[in-house]
Amino acid sequence: MTDPRIRNFCIIAHIDHGKSTLADRLLEITGTITKRELKEQILDSMDLERERGITIKAQAVRMFHEKDGQIYQLNLIDTPGHVDFTYEVSRSLAACEGAILVVDSTQGVEAQTLANVYLALENDLEIVPVINKIDLPAADIDEARRQITEAVGINGDTALPVSAKSGIGCKELLNALVDRIPPPKIDNDAPLRALIFDSAYDNYRGVVCYVRVKDGKLKVGDKIRFMKGELDFEVTELGVLSPRQSPVSELQCGEVGYVVAGIRTLAEVRVGDTITHAKKPAAQALSGYKEVKPVVFAGLYPVNADDYDSLKDSIEKLRLNDAAFFVEPETSEALGFGFRCGFLGLLHMEIIQERLEREYNQDLLFTAPSVVYRVLLTNRETVIIDNPSKMPNPQNIESIEEPYVDARIFFPKEYLGNVLTLCQGKKGLQKDMTFISTERVMVHYEFPLSEIVSDFHDRLKSVTSGYASFDYEVTGYKEGDMVKMDVLVNGDPVDALSIIVHRSDSASKGRVLCKKLKEIIPRQMFVVPIQAALGGKIIARETVSAVRKDVTAKCYGGDISRKRKLLEKQKEGKKRMKQFGRVEIPQEAFMSVLRLTDD
């Protein structure tokens, strides 16, 4: 049986192709939200999201649309728009029966378009292609149709031309959603199964779970069970978003809404988990659940050791809102007490870093991010290493495996040479190369994740003047000939500067790293040697010469106040430096290991 009144869908698009604008327009046209409210909503959303043009937290909004005298309930489930959040995207897609695929008529198909389409197809979604921005002078609708057909593999002739900005074609799109997207299959009598596709933390009510009811129905007061988390709760509130939270007494099969059940921490709720009734549980959880595992790790330290407790506090608060942010205490000889943090990707890491600095006002020191290595020891034991300084001694290592990714890169053909050179330099293995139009190329490569985690994205942007788009997914592990490179400053190893490198790169990376550190580490009263070493063997060396002249010539009346203020300012600036032995190492030094290519 199906519920013919309901359509559940999401919007998938490349960044800037108009996803949010289209969502806003649909909300406006269906009368879900007024123009004035739209503005307020935009103002309310997280600064970081707006600045980066991405959606960090998914939401689900219910709207109503009338077609041929019949009123339909359309549930728009928003999806995070970045590669780091692929799993979250896949769970949001699993809550839908259909997806609007937005392609910018001035840009064509991009890397993320494709990645998201693959995810949607895996989830058996009906895809409704839309060609956006048709009112711009540079729009090329026919070319967009052609690319949808050829690069995406969906009949481009079925694509609806729209302008999300002006609203052209949006009514037709709503009708198409009703016509083309299948209504949800329902079985109100089956044991309850509701898919958690997102969650958020609310200061007053605790965790709010966003769910799609797949089987049975859910009522306030129900005793529920999280099947993977194996935890029981009692539902205190159910509701839908329109787009503000409005409570309802039950969520029917096929519907989308939120559940509040006195859950105190996000750690208890896992996206992808299934909610069932505690008394009459379903036999099997919904498929597709995965444990989210961070793929990038970095050390996070307070710049002033005294701020440890306050940083810990901030991290705990932040984790309430971000279950994918992994944290455990860590101690570094160089940096003291801090935390080992795991992230879904580099963007995720940057977001956390910025939020801690901006919202929680913390002075932070991040070490260079590392991927997770699998190390097989000579005693046949396997250990997982997410911190280069914890790498076992070489004589105890049988082999090391590192994570690999599949990456797709889209760019105008004139940059082909640049991109291939870059990929080659990053140890890429080409798997495919296609011209998706007469102007644009898609290459498909396999890379070690460690190469992507370093400066790949920045370099890609620079060698293609910003015209490339890029997406990747972690595929598995492969053995590699890797070694730990230590860095000695003034004769002492600085554990937070250790990195894992391919043996073949170690000499050149050691040289570049020493040279960079020489530029970054301020001159001291004495000569400071900087060395890179493999095991005990020095492979590169630079010297920071001693300060020769640093004196204020004149110091009379007004100079004294100026001088004092300058000293006070420099003292503030010190906060970004870490005293290591007698040498001060600025924060940049710890990130400099990311960019070790000779320019």
Binding site: Q524, V551, K554, C555, G557, I560, R564, K571
Partner: protein
């Protein structure tokens, strides 16, 4: 009865030098009436201070210093009136040291006599260099031969306390040029000498040219050598190197300038003048018109006024104290002495040539002065957190 120094900022210059970052105006931009009224406005400003704080008049006046700008562009008669007014406004026998900053081209025989008559007993002459090509580059209005005449005229008028100001690390200056300037300066037998490495201050034409690449800073190593060579030369010539940039014959240290490094009270008068009374700091507005108007309306405009807390005072004591040959003493500040000592112990192997430290005092030597900023920053890390 605590003593007091007076600093009068005279913001007039015939031509503004492109490296100078003091508040000044070119003469042609100032109406003659304003210039003529200047000393009387300074007098009014002092009256306002004395009215607001009658206890100031109880102070013993030790020094008067007319700086700028170019105070030697003022009429000596007007300065004479001002000096005698200032002398009478305070307790005691009047200031012992009354300095005028002067440009060599202003020190004609007649004017030198008039400056003596005005009560000036010390001249600080802006020589800068004896190489004409550098004087030209610095846009100075005098040439080397004028300097010799100026000193001779001053001596003839009876000045027995003359200081010469020199600069090193000028664009493209060679070590030979620098030493030659020093030799010629020493040959004039001044009682006092100062030399300063050229600093490219922000918001000056020189700084702009440096940024644009039109000027290049002298190599750091050469600057260091110039400084040390200059110190050595003057030491051998019998001068005491009593502050980072200052040298004096015995008994001829600048009493006024020492007030800054010993943090004695100085009351500043005139636009842009800085004052330092106890823990209070402020400056007069860097604007001739607003200063004049405010004083005319009976108002004292105190810019950037702030009372310093103990931590800030410690910071000042540290960097002013380390400029002096005596350094800082345990008696003056046990906290600073402890911090400096801790730094010295920690770096003993590397800094033995830079500093001298014992139970009672901590002081920097010439090589230490050369990197004194870095040392001060280092020592500050050893101060207990405030």
């Amino acid at each position: 009865m605590t003593d007091l120094g007076l600093y009068i900022h005279v913001p007039f210059c015939k031509h503004a030098c492109p490296y100078c970052d003091f508040y000044k105006l070119e003469l042609r931009a100032i109406p003659a009436a304003t210039r003529l009224a200047f000393t009387s406005v300074v007098e009014q400003e002092l009256i306002l201070h004395l009215t607001a704080h009658p206890d100031l008049a109880e102070r013993r006046l030790e020094t008067i210093y007319l700086g700028g700008g170019t105070p030697s562009t003022l009429k000596p008669e007007l300065v004479g009136g001002l000096v005698s007014f200032l002398q009478r406004a305070f307790q005691g026998d009047g200031a012992q040291e009354i300095t005028l900053e002067a440009n060599p081209e202003n020190l004609t025989p007649q004017r030198c006599v008039k400056w003596r008559e005005a009560g000036i007993n010390r001249l600080s002459i802006g020589v800068q260099t004896f190489a004409d090509r550098h004087l030209e580059r610095l846009e100075r209005l005098h040439r080397a031969e004028v300097i010799d005449d100026a000193v001779a005229n001053a001596r003839a008028a009876g000045f027995d306390n003359i200081s010469l100001d020199l600069m090193f690390a000028l664009p493209n200056q060679t070590m030979e040029e620098w030493m030659e300037s020093l030799r010629r300066a020493a040959a004039l037998n001044p009682e006092h000498l100062s030399f300063y490495g050229l600093t490219y201050h922000e918001n000056t034409p020189f700084h702009e040219q440096l940024e644009e690449g039109g000027l290049r800073e002298v190599e750091e190593d050469l600057q260091a050598e110039m400084y040390l060579a200059g110190c050595g030369f003057l030491r051998h010539a019998g001068f005491e190197h009593y502050e980072i940039s200052n040298f004096a014959r015995r008994g001829n240290r600048s009493r006024h300038n020492q007030r800054y490094w010993y943090r004695g009270d100085v009351l500043g008068l005139g636009p842009g003048a800085h004052s330092n009374l106890g823990p209070r700091r402020w400056s007069d507005p860097e604007d001739l018109e607003s200063w004049q108007e405010a004083v005319g309306n009976g108002m004292l405009l105190m810019m950037e006024e702030e009372p310093l807390g103990p931590e800030q005072l410690d910071g000042e004591k540290l960097f002013t104290g380390l400029r002096r040959i005596e350094g800082i003493s345990r008696r003056e500040s046990p906290i600073l002495h402890n911090a400096a000592r801790a730094w010295f112990e920690e770096n003993r192997d590397d800094v033995g040539d830079y500093a001298a430290c014992d139970e009672e005092s901590f002081r920097l030597m010439e090589t230490g002065w050369l990197v004194s900023e870095a040392i001060i920053r280092d020592i500050m890390k050893h101060l207990p957190p405030g």
